[in-house]
């Protein structure tokens, strides 16, 4: 079997999210159920982040952009738009080391927000964005 089948399924489901949401502005229970099956426990927390509009798309004049996700404790996590990485410890342990979970809730929240287009926008200066990238642990 080819590797990454779960990723393929996840991608397709997110496309379904995008499609359904753009058309009807809701997510069906079926779709949520399928997402739950693939993403596991991260989904609930991610949806909560999405509900609370906890994903912010940060852009700067130079064109570089990233996502800031508000964690449950109010901490901000910097997620890159094209990559699947999150500085949170769940990602380190459960996703990277143990491979138990496909993504952490922050990355999933970014993915869902992207699919639904429900993130907030923030424009910062180039320097500020660099600051976010360089100093992401203390970014508030």
């Amino acid at each position: 079997m080819a590797s990454g089948q779960l990723g393929t399924v996840a991608t397709q489901l997110l496309l379904e999210v995008k499609h359904l949401y753009s058309r009807n502005s809701y997510l069906s229970d079926d779709l949520l159920s399928a997402l739950q099956d693939v993403f596991g426990t991260s989904l609930l927390a991610s949806l909560d982040i999405v509900d609370r509009k906890g994903v912010t798309h940060v852009t700067c004049p130079s064109g570089r952009h990233l996502y800031l996700v508000v964690g449950s404790s109010g901490r901000l996590y910097t997620c890159l738009p094209s990559g699947l990485y999150c500085p949170c410890s769940f990602f380190t342990y459960a996703t990277l080391m143990r491979g138990e979970s496909l993504v952490c809730k922050h990355v999933l929240a970014v993915q869902l927000s992207q699919a639904m287009g429900t993130f907030q926008h923030l424009t910062v200066s180039d320097e500020e964005l660099v600051g976010l990238l360089m100093n992401k642990d203390t970014a508030q």
């Binding site: 590797s3 069906s28 739950q36 099956d37 949806l47 509900d51 738009p81 094209s82 699947l84």
Partner: protein
């Protein structure tokens, strides 16, 4: 509270306690108070407390070192103090704390002997208490935590003692039923000697043991416990209460019996601990009650004791509720909430399922309703088992006969339950979800929670399937050992290969599809949308019932909730809904904007009044968004009177007459105990004799009504299958459209004149009318208690009263008028069908929220429904109705009535006399003057032939008023032009004199107000209404 209580014996002769507590006790003062009182009570009482202590602790603080504090005083008392060790042990009540502490048993046998000695002197046995100990031991909950842990030291040691004993002797003789004075016949020394070491071996006790008794560790424990205690806010528990209670009960030390009788305890507990079965060999435990009973009693007592004191307790009790209180609050109406509900439903359903299949094996007869697959290969990715399977049976459920292969995703739990291995055969029951992926040859099945392993040979298939073991489970790269195969490969490739594979999006391809840029994959998805679809159980499909009550009853315990009923749509109407704050999240999401909507907004929802086969009603709300779905559109637009199968409806409320009088007035109008239903039900009866409701006579109108709502993505509606359609023959033998349900009661169409003869106090009637004029009801009308709305002046040719040829109909604001009808109403003489107008005795006809305004028999629409609601005589009467003339205004004319005005123009209200140019294309009256030309900013063109609009109000002397007043009439354009027809306008406008004295032709108007002018003359304010051109009726052929 305990501190305040004066204890006569406090501190007498127990200095060691005091010192000990002070040393131990940076802990809560209140607790200390309790401790003090405990300490100051007699030794016996202490024992009595210990005796109750039995729950999850084995505080074996028999360590000699621990007694050091007390040594200076006496040989015996210190020991008591050490047993008590209240400072430590009470803090230990936190089970979490205690569990971490290993037992260190460093007790000398001598000590044990002494203790056993003292114990045996004092402690008799109580079966009840023993039982309670057993249970406490089991429960070890926060509640049982109330029992003094300090006492547990003794009780444990005793317990162990006796447990050993009782193990060796099936019928222990130590138990003294009287529990008061008889000493135990067992030599305590011998007990102690061999029992105490045994304790360690006894797992039950070991589990509870947690207090270290070596001095260092004891101190450590203490400090750590104190710390934990400090961090936790202690509360007054039953423990303290008990102590005080005992004190008050037996504060006199001499009253030994009482104290002793309450002691009993520990030994008894040990009996039950060692013989948890309460074997019949033990007559006492058998006769005096099982462990359960005793503990119940104890708990009850504790509860009774502690509950009245709760008032003193300012802190919240820390109980098992704590964990539930942590439940996170999600945004109302948010996705997380939706998922949470879904999860709990699924969990419940899966639990049911697991219970159902726990002891059963696969039934081959299920093969038609489930999918049987053979697992060819399996790999684990992120705890999800991805298998490639070949379908053995149940292809029909897949709708995809092309490939026999499917990829089935099993979650960890399901896989464990199935013992999933390549080569297994698994039966998968609906519901599940199928996801087709364009690049993938065969579909993925998700949410396969309802599975059952199939033993070899049970399924039909005789095929020998080659089983390929998953190749992926290769050795992971040495760098990272615990990676999932997928990640391992990725990391491996990241480490070894090209830059391309370093792109993190390879991990998870979705990462590439950003929200702003629609990728090719996106388009692909939107082209072939709905790749995900849910396979539901056949049960769900066919279980549509004919009764709401049955359907609602059947809701419990189903994974996919929602009513599934067959019902007749009696009425359809629209209603505006205030979108509440809680719903704003949804709305914002729908609007996909970031702006917050502060002001409440309105949303249009469809309402359907449904009636089931048994005369029960429910009101169904359908959000407007569902109109996009084909089934709903058909149901909402042409579904009235027909039967539909609804599924996935959620029950929201239950209404009764007092709560929703409007709805019930509508229900009353359609409800009938008519022959139609009886014949229908009897017909059903002959078909389905098991129908329990049929025999129930329905003679009373319904007193309640369920409010249900349809949800996007969940709720569906479809026409019933053929066998469900109630083909109808009514009594007259008249053949009807079979699609119209027999229980449908179409709108009661009457003529305006007939409406006055309605017998009931209130009713809902429907009218075919011609509209003469309508105007908005002024909101500030002090005379009107009606909400703002519209007033319609209509006629239908049936009214013979020439003084009031037009009937007034109030249309409330809540009545939704469609745009189409609004456009129609612009032209006077329009034919309207007013459905379900509320008629109340002595009041104006009212169109309220349940009423619907239709275009009367829209052109080209000749449906069954329209024929049904259009009695020929009504229609003919309307078609031939001549426009009645209005009476001229008299001094007795009613306010807000239509009158005719004719007379001589007395004067002109010059403030209202002006004219302005208007764009001939768009009607814009804000034209820009550019030189001599006019420019319309809207049309962006030069207006060459502007229309001239005029406004004029004139005072008219009407002969009909007989000098009792004059009429001030606001004229319309046509009348003004007619007045000015014989003069030419100059630059200044028109000459006033030319108008004065002119005879005004008869104009129709609406009397809006009656006031008095400065000369105290009555002024009848009239607004002219458009003249009526004869409208040709569209009659159906």
């Amino acid at each position: 509270m305990l501190k305040k209580r004066k204890n006569p014996s406090s501190n007498k002769g127990f200095p060691s306690f005091e010192s000990f507590h002070e040393e131990a006790g940076s802990h809560d003062q209140r607790r200390q108070g309790g401790v003090r009182s405990a300490a100051s009570s007699s030794t016996k009482r202490l024992h009595s407390e210990w005796s109750k202590a039995g729950e999850g602790f084995a505080g074996f603080s028999l360590d000699p070192e621990a007694h050091d504090h007390n040594k200076p005083h006496s040989r015996k008392r210190p020991r008591v103090g050490s047993w008590d060790q209240p400072g430590v042990c009470r803090q230990e009540r936190n089970p979490n704390t205690s569990e971490d502490i290993p037992i260190e048993w460093s007790e000398s046998e001598d000590e044990a002997e002494q203790e056993a000695d003292s114990l045996s002197d004092i402690v008799p046995l109580s079966p009840v208490q023993s039982a309670s100990q057993e249970e406490d031991n089991i429960i070890s909950s926060d509640q049982s935590d109330a029992v003094l842990p300090a006492r547990s030291e003794i009780s444990q040691s005793e317990a162990s003692t006796i447990s050993h004993h009782s193990q060796s002797e099936p019928t222990p003789t130590i138990v003294d039923q009287s529990g008061c004075t008889s000493p135990s016949p067992i030599s305590p020394k011998s007990m102690a000697r061999h029992t105490i070491p045994k304790v360690l071996g006894a797992s039950r006790l070991k589990r509870r043991s947690h207090v270290s008794s070596s001095p260092q560790s004891c101190a450590k424990v203490r400090s750590s416990v104190v710390q934990k205690l400090l961090s936790l806010k202690p509360e007054v528990t039953a423990e303290d209460v008990e102590i005080s209670d005992y004190e008050s009960a037996s504060s006199d030390e001499a009253d030994g019996d009482k104290a002793v009788s309450s002691l009993e305890v520990a030994t008894g507990s040990s009996v039950s601990i060692s013989t948890p079965d309460a074997s019949p060999a033990n007559p006492i435990s058998a006769s005096k009650g099982s462990p359960k009973t005793g503990s119940d009693w104890l708990k009850k007592v504790q509860w009774q004791i502690s509950s009245p004191k709760d008032g003193d307790n300012e802190e919240e009790p820390r109980g098992p509720l704590d964990s539930t209180r942590k439940g996170k609050k999600f945004v109302r109406g948010g996705f997380a909430e939706q998922l949470q509900r879904l999860q709990s439903r699924e969990r419940a359903s899966i639990t049911f399922w697991n219970h159902k299949v726990a002891n059963s094996t696969f039934d081959p007869s299920d093969q038609k309703t489930c999918l049987v697959v053979k697992v060819l290969s399996s790999c684990v990715e992120c705890s999800v088992h991805i298998t490639k399977c070949k379908t053995l049976s149940g292809h029909n459920l897949l709708d995809d006969p092309q490939s026999p292969y499917v990829s089935v995703l099993f979650n960890k739990q399901t896989a464990e339950q199935l013992g999933l291995m390549p080569g297994n055969t698994v039966a998968i029951y609906p519901p599940w979800q199928k996801l087709s992926i364009p690049a993938h040859d065969y579909p993925f099945l998700l949410c396969t929670y309802y599975c059952q392993p199939v033993a070899e040979g049970t399924a039909d298939s005789q095929e020998n399937l080659e089983v390929e073991q998953s190749e992926i489970k290769g050795p992971a790269p040495s760098l990272v050992t615990n990676l999932s195969p997928q990640k391992a490969q990725t990391v491996h490739s990241m480490l070894t290969s090209t830059r391309k594979s370093l792109r993190p999006s390879n991990l998870f391809p979705a990462g590439t599809s950003t929200g702003e840029a629609g990728t090719a994959a996106d388009e692909d998805s939107s082209a072939g949308h709905n790749r995900l679809y849910s396979v539901r159980t056949g049960q769900e499909r066919h279980q549509a019932v004919r009764s709401f009550l049955e359907a609602i009853e059947g809701l419990s315990g189903r994974a996919s909730p929602g009513l599934h009923v067959v019902a007749t749509v009696q009425r359809v109407w629209c209603q505006r809904h205030q979108v509440t704050l809680g719903q704003q999240a949804l709305l914002l999401r729908a609007a996909k904007t970031q702006t917050s909507v502060a002001e409440p907004t309105q949303e249009l929802r469809w309402h359907l009044l449904l009636e089931d086969g048994h005369g029960a009603f429910c009101e169904l709300q359908v959000p407007n968004v569902l109109l996009q779905e084909e089934g709903w559109a058909a149901c909402l637009h042409g579904g009235e009177g027909k039967e539909w199968v609804f599924s996935g409806l959620r029950v929201t409320h239950r209404a009764n007459r007092s709560r929703m009088p409007t709805l019930f007035s509508l229900i009353d109008s359609v409800w009938s105990d008519s022959t139609a239903r009886e014949s229908w039900t009897s017909q059903q009866d002959s078909e389905q004799s098991e129908n329990a409701y049929v025999s129930m006579p329905t003679c009373l109108p319904p007193s309640f009504c369920y409010l249900v709502s349809a949800w996007p993505g969940e709720s569906r509606v479809e026409p019933p299958e053929d066998n469900l359609t109630s083909s109808t023959r009514d009594g007259s033998g008249q053949s009807k459209d079979s699609s119209i349900s027999a229980i449908y009661k179409s709108a009661q169409v009457v003529m305006l004149a007939d409406s006055e003869e309605t017998v009931a106090d209130s009713a809902r009637i429907s009218l075919y009318v011609k509209l003469r004029f309508w105007r908005s009801q002024p909101s500030g009308d002090s005379n009107s208690t009606m909400e703002t709305g519209r007033v319609l002046f209509v006629w239908d040719g049936s009214t013979t009263d020439s003084s009031q040829p037009y009937s007034k109909i109030n249309v409330r604001q809540s009545c939704v008028i469609t745009e189409q009808v609004m456009n129609l109403m612009k032209q006077p003489g329009a034919c309207l069908f007013l459905k379900d107008i509320l008629w109340e005795k002595g009041r104006v006809l009212t169109a309220d929220v349940c009423s619907v305004l239709h275009q009367a028999c829209p052109e080209g629409v000749v449906t069954e429904w329209w024929q049904r609601v259009t009695p020929p005589h009504v229609w003919n009467s309307l078609a031939t109705a001549v426009t009645p003339g209005l009476q001229v205004v008299t001094s007795s004319a009613n306010l807000h009535s239509l009158v005719q005005v004719q007379g001589q123009v007395l004067s002109v209200d010059e403030e209202t006399a002006f004219s302005w140019p208007e764009c001939d294309t768009c009607g814009n009256n804000r034209l820009i003057e550019q030189g001599s030309l006019l420019q319309c900013p809207t049309c962006d063109k030069t207006v060459t032939e502007p229309l001239t609009r005029m406004s004029l109000e004139v005072y008219v002397d009407c002969p009909s008023l007989e000098k009792s007043g004059i009429v001030k009439i606001k004229l319309l354009q046509d009348s003004i032009q007619q007045l000015l027809s014989n003069q030419q306008a100059d630059d200044e406008g028109y000459e006033l004199q030319a108008v004065l004295g002119q005879e005004l032709r008869p104009v129709d108007g609406c009397l809006t107000s009656i006031s008095r002018d400065s000369a105290a003359e009555r002024v009848f304010m009239v607004e002219e209404i458009p003249q009526l051109q004869d409208v040709t009726m569209t009659t159906e052929s």
